[in-house]
């Protein structure tokens, strides 16, 4: 095994061939793959490992800089430093708890406004950027009533949908993944379109395709999910994002716009899986109240001061 022998080369060829065969088998399925059984074994084995690793990593990541500052001088200094680090870590942990409480608050507000029945969950693992799939693992699985194709939200809006489910974990396909396509509706108007993810390209913006080429979409328009048939995979009324740019397209049947999602996909933590869709479409109820615009009022007063202008014309 130690040196490059004929046997090793044969093994290399064999393993590479196996890998390629697996890729081909998995690809042919599309949707339902013959390797789904293998995947669920993977989820059953690595899910608990990730849950444990995430539980350990949570306080560690916040205390990394504290511990690194602990010097290695005399015993007493080390001891004092350790106490200090522990105290700081406790402080951090309570800060963490406060953050989580705020996140939970926002989540409950969203779920309440839309009348969604949700199961809260926490992100325990994130896919690598070089895998080119934007997915996360959450710590709720089939034992918590999670099923594939359920909508996942957080306090800001739409996160994605459940792709695969393990016993204690589930994989969520984020809305920014190129495989994601979400039916959306412009706030107030009934204009519908489809947003699709573009991955890391275009600063994580979604691409919106409006089905009506004549539609009057402008920058600042807000989007909510339209709701899929039977509310799977997407329930209606979840805030998706805001239009940040409209492409001038000539001679096409659809209009393309760029949408900045409400959810910050780089720092996902607490999410909720919608296990029961609302009985009625919440429409725009889940969107935060539109930003108030008191500024136009001063411009009105400016036009009033311009009034004296007609008087000189009278004299003429």
């Amino acid at each position: 095994m130690n040196r490059d022998t004929r046997r090793t080369r044969l093994l290399l060829a064999l393993l590479l061939l196996t890998s390629i065969t697996l890729v081909a088998l998995d690809h042919r399925g599309q949707g339902k793959s013959p390797l789904d059984g293998l995947r669920s074994i993977g989820a059953a084995v690595f899910g608990p490992v990730e849950r444990a690793a995430s539980a350990i990593a949570r306080p560690v990541s916040s205390a990394v800089d504290d511990l690194s500052s602990v010097g290695r001088n005399t015993d007493k200094a080390a001891e004092l430093g350790k106490t200090n680090a522990t105290l700081r870590q406790q402080l951090r942990t309570s800060e963490l708890a406060r953050n989580r409480a705020a996140e939970l608050d926002a989540l409950l507000r969203t779920a309440g406004a839309g009348r969604y029945r949700v199961v809260p969950a926490q992100v325990v693992a994130v896919g690598a950027a070089q895998s080119f799939s934007w997915t996360v693992t959450i710590d709720a699985g089939s034992r918590d009533g999670i099923k594939p194709d359920m909508t996942v939200i957080n306090g800001d809006g739409l996160v994605g949908r459940v792709k695969t489910v393990g016993p204690t974990t589930a994989t969520v396909l984020l809305a920014i993944d190129p495989q994601s396509a979400v039916g959306v509706r412009l706030e107030k108007s009934m204009e519908v379109g489809i947003t699709s993810g573009q991955g890391a390209a275009h600063h994580g913006e979604l691409s919106l395709e409006l089905l009506d080429g004549q539609s009057s979409v402008v920058t600042g328009d807000r989007l909510v999910s339209f709701g899929s048939r039977g509310s799977t995979p997407y329930v209606p009324g979840v805030p998706v994002g805001e239009v940040v740019g409209v492409q001038k397209t000539v001679g096409t049947l659809t209009r393309i716009a760029a949408v900045r999602p409400y959810v910050d996909f780089t720092s996902l933590d607490l999410v909720a899986v919608v296990v029961e869709p609302p009985r009625t479409d919440p429409r725009d109820a889940v969107l935060p109240p539109p930003p108030a615009r008191p500024k136009p009022i001063p411009t009105v007063t400016v036009t009033v001061t311009a009034k004296p202008a007609p008087t000189p014309t009278k004299k003429r």
Binding site: N2, L15, G42, A43, F46, A53, V124, V126, S133
Partner: protein
Amino acid sequence: MKTSRVLVAAAVVVAALAVQLSFLARLPLPGATPDLVLVCVVALGLARGPGFGLVAGFVAGISTDLAPPADHAVGRWAFVLSLVGYAAGLARSETRRSAFVPVIVVAIAAAASVLMYAALGLLVDDPAINWPVVAELLPTAVLYAVVLSPFVVSAVLAMIHRVEPEPVSRS
């Protein structure tokens, strides 16, 4: 002796995967995710040669393909990491020449792995493969792997040599 070496390698791979998915991928770093699994596979190859590196790479790759957030075709990372482990094993005899050899091997492996994985995506027409984005990921992927390598490679080598001292080589 041999089983203890295999156990150490398995533990290294599982631990690296867990740390990568649950900790490194969540750090707010620009560009690529630090690929700890890749660095470990290179280290295992450097520790015990092409055969061992190949098997370790295949197992690490299959694990990466199956561990939950993964959503790509199973076998893609297995292919890439098998080759990486094998190639790193071939460079084993060079490690005695200079202390920089492992770092260079890791840097080449990091760049090659990103490119090979993306190229395999073409085979299954992965819609996410976008060459400008791949090019953007390359420098950070190499940088993070190089930063990790001095610690990880020496730790893995020390662990392997501890359970199984290196035989007197004839080469």
